[in-house]
Assembly symmetry: C2
Homo-oligomer: 402 residues x 2
C-alpha cells in the first residue's frame, strides 16, 4: 500500500451513478429539497440505519426493500422527516416509491426512500410525486454538488468529498456526501450520507467494509448526544472501474473508504449546530474499547466542557471531572495524564507542574483542538470527534420550528 | 400516619446545631464565603459523597475522618473547590481542620472539611485559618439563612427549607440547606447539602434513612449531566427533641426526610444554571427501575428537548426520539404514550389523533411542566427532575472563570 491517498472537495464523477435535484416546496419555497439517485444495473449496495426504536417510516421501508431486492433508485427529501407519523407515514413513503417506479419504469421495492427534517408532520406526498417525471428526466452524473446541497437542513455548508486510489494499475474513484448537524450521536451518527464508488465488489463484502468504516467514523462523532430517528447511510459500488475488490486489494479499498468516511464524519461535527471548534477526543492506553469510549464520550457530551471550549477557556478541571465520572472501574487517577494538543495539563491527580494558563490559552485559540487522555492501564486507543457548545446551538434549536 | 406535613421556607432552629459565617475573601472580597457548623455532643451523623473518581481533597478527608470518629464540626468554604489539587490539596484541607480543632478545642478528625467553587486552584489556607477564632466565637443557632447564602456559587437563590412533624405527641424539627446549580447529576446530585434534625436516632439507621431519601431526590435530578468532584450531603441528628426513632415511628421520620430532600433537590433544579422551567420527567409502567431511569434520563439529558422547552415549543418529536434511543430492549413503540401535563401527544407510534398544537403550546407556557411517558410493559414508575437549556446556561458556563 504505497499509494498516496488524496481526499478532495472537488467531486469526482462515479461512472454508473446519475443524480438530479428539484424544488418540491416541501417546507420552504424555491429551495431544492428533493434528490433522486440512480444506480446502474449491477450495482452492489450496502447500508446502515439508525438504532432508534422510533425509526422513521422511510427507514422502515428502505430496510424492507433492501431485504427484498437490489435497489436501483434512492429518493431523498429534506424539510420533513416523515417520522412519528404512524401508519400514514408508511403509506406516504410507499406512495413516493411508487411514484419513482412509475416515472422510471422499475419495481416499487427497487426504490429506497429517505427523509430528513422536522419530525411528526405529514409528508406532502403530492408535492413530491408531481415532480418525479421532471426529476428523473434530468438525471446526470455531474450533479453531486447540487444533491449535497439539497439534502441539507440546518447544515451551513454541504459536505461532499471524493478520493481516488490506484489499484492494479487502474484508478478507483469514490465520492460521498452527508448532511446533519444536530441530533448527531452513535449509532448511527450521520443523519443521511450517500457514498458511491466504481469498485466492483460483492454486496456482503461491501457491507462488511461499510460496517468497519462506520465504526471508526460516523459512529464516533457526537454533537449533542441525540440519535436521530432517520439516520441512514448507503454505500453503492457500480463496478464500472472494472477493479474487482478481493482479498488481495481489500485493504486498499477499506483504507480509502475509511478515509472518506472519517472526512465526512469530521465535516459533520465541524458543521455541528452552532459549532465554532472541532474537538478531537483521543483516549489512549485503556484496557478495552468500551472504557476508552466511556471516557471519550463523558468528555464529548459534557456541556460544561463544551461551553468552556466555546469560551476558549482552558478550564481543565471540567475535563478532569468528566474523566472522573466516566465510570471506569478502579481508575488510578494518579496515572491519568490529560493533554490539550501537546500541552500536558493534568498529571498525578492534579494540575501538571509544568502547566501555565498561558500555554492552555494559546491552544484554546485554535479552531481544531485535541484533548488527549492517557489512562496508562492498557493498550487500546480510541478517538471521538465533537464540537463546542455555543449560544447559537441554543438559538438554532430553540427556533427550529418557528 | 395522619400527620399533616408542611415544608416551609422559614427555617426552624434545630436544638443542638449552631452556625456562623464570615467573609474570608477566598475568591471575591466582601462576600461571606466560610461557614462553620457545630453539632452538640452525641449527635448522630450520616453522609453521602460524590462517586467521581477524581473526588476532591476535602471529600477524601471528610470520608477518612468520618471513618475514624464522630464529627463535631463542619467547615465549608465557597469560591474554591480544592479539587484537582493533588497532595497539596490534601494538606490544605487538613490544615483547615487543624485550625478549627485549635480554635474550638476538639480533635482534628472531629472536623469535616467541604469546599465548592473553581476546580484546580490552590486553596488559600491562611485566609481561612486566620478567620477561625472569630468564626467559632460567633456560633449561633439562628444563622441558617446566612449559612445557606454563604455556600452559594452560581446559585441565584439560597435553598433552605424546614419541616416539622408530630411524633409520639412531641414535635420533631428538620431543617436543610443545599447549594449547586451546574455540574448536577447523579450520583451524587447536589454539590453540597446539610440537613439537621432534633430526632434521636442511631447512626447506622440514620445512614439507611439518608440513602433512601437521596435515591429518590438528589440522585434523581440533572441539570447538565455532569457529576461534580465535590458533591457531599451530611445529615445530622442531635437527639434534642428526645423523640427516639425506632421501628414504630421510622416511617414518619423517613417521610419527613424524603419530603425535605425532594424539596431541596427540586429547588436545585429550579435554580439550575440559566433555567427558566422545572421539568418533571415521569416514566410509568416500565419493567424495572433501570429501564424507567434510562428513558427518563434520555429525555432529561437531551439538549434538543431542553432547548425546545426553553423556547416553549411543544416539539414532541424530540421527546419521542429520546424515548427511542434510550436503549430499552424490545420496546413496542405502538404502546408508548407520551403526555405533556394532561395532554396526550404521542400514541400508537406517532402523534395522538386528539392532539392539537394549541394544546401543546398552552402547556409549554407554564414554568413547571410534567413530561409523562407510559411504556405499558410493567409495574414500575420513576421520576427525574430537570430544567430547560437556555442562552444563559451557555453564558454562565462560558464566563464562569472570567
Amino acid at each position: 500500500m504505497a499509494e498516496t491517498l488524496l481526499v478532495q472537495e472537488l467531486p469526482l464523477i462515479i461512472d454508473g451513478i446519475r443524480l438530479n435535484t428539484i424544488a418540491a416546496n416541501i417546507r420552504r419555497p424555491d429551495r431544492k429539497d428533493l434528490v433522486l439517485i440512480e444506480m446502474v444495473e449491477g450495482t452492489s449496495v450496502a447500508a446502515v440505519f439508525t438504532q432508534n426504536a422510533f425509526c422513521a417510516a422511510p427507514v422502515q421501508i428502505a430496510k424492507k426493500h433492501l431485504n427484498e431486492t437490489t435497489p436501483r433508485y434512492l429518493l431523498i427529501n429534506s424539510g420533513n422527516a416523515n417520522a412519528g407519523t404512524g401508519p400514514a407515514g408508511i403509506e406516504a413513503a410507499l406512495a413516493c416509491c411508487s411514484g419513482v417506479a412509475k416515472a422510471v419504469g422499475c419495481d416499487v421495492n427497487q426504490v429506497l426512500p429517505f427523509s430528513t427534517g422536522v419530525i411528526g408532520e405529514p409528508l406532502p406526498v403530492s408535492k413530491i410525486t408531481s415532480c418525479l417525471d421532471d426529476l428523473s428526466a434530468g438525471l446526470d452524473e455531474q450533479r453531486w454538488r447540487n444533491a449535497s446541497e439539497a439534502i441539507m437542513t440546518t447544515d451551513t455548508v454541504p459536505k461532499l468529498f471524493s478520493a481516488k486510489i490506484e489499484i492494479d494499475g487502474k484508478t478507483l474513484n469514490i465520492t460521498g456526501m452527508a448532511k446533519g448537524s444536530g441530533m448527531i450521536r452513535p449509532d448511527m451518527a450521520t443523519m443521511l450520507s450517500y457514498i458511491a464508488t466504481d469498485a466492483k465488489i460483492d454486496s456482503s463484502l461491501l457491507q462488511n467494509c461499510l460496517q468497519q468504516a462506520v465504526d471508526r467514523s460516523f459512529n464516533r462523532i457526537t454533537v449533542d448526544g441525540d440519535t436521530s430517528t432517520n439516520d441512514s447511510l448507503v454505500l453503492m459500488a457500480t463496478g464500472k472501474s472494472q477493479i474487482v475488490i478481493d482479498e488481495n486489494n481489500l485493504e486498499s479499498f477499506q483504507m480509502v473508504l475509511n478515509e472518506l468516511s472519517e472526512t465526512l464524519a469530521r465535516a459533520l461535527v465541524r458543521d455541528g449546530e452552532g459549532a465554532t471548534k472541532l474537538i478531537n477526543v483521543v483516549v489512549e492506553q485503556g484496557q478495552d474499547e468500551i472504557e476508552c469510549a466511556k471516557v471519550a464520550y463523558a468528555i464529548a457530551h459534557s456541556p460544561l466542557v463544551k461551553t468552556a471550549f466555546f469560551a476558549s477557556d482552558p478550564n481543565w478541571g471540567r475535563i478532569l471531572a468528566a474523566v472522573g465520572y466516566a465510570g471506569v472501574e478502579n481508575l488510578d487517577i494518579d496515572k491519568v495524564e490529560i493533554y490539550l494538543d501537546e500541552v500536558c495539563i493534568v498529571q498525578q491527580g492534579g494540575i501538571a507542574a509544568s502547566y501555565s494558563e498561558e500555554q492552555g490559552q494559546a491552544v484554546m485559540k485554535n479552531s481544531e483542538i485535541t484533548i488527549r487522555v492517557n489512562l496508562q492501564r492498557g493498550q487500546v486507543n480510541t478517538t471521538v470527534w465533537t464540537c463546542d457548545f455555543s449560544y447559537d446551538y441554543v438559538k438554532i434549536n430553540a427556533e427550529y420550528r418557528t
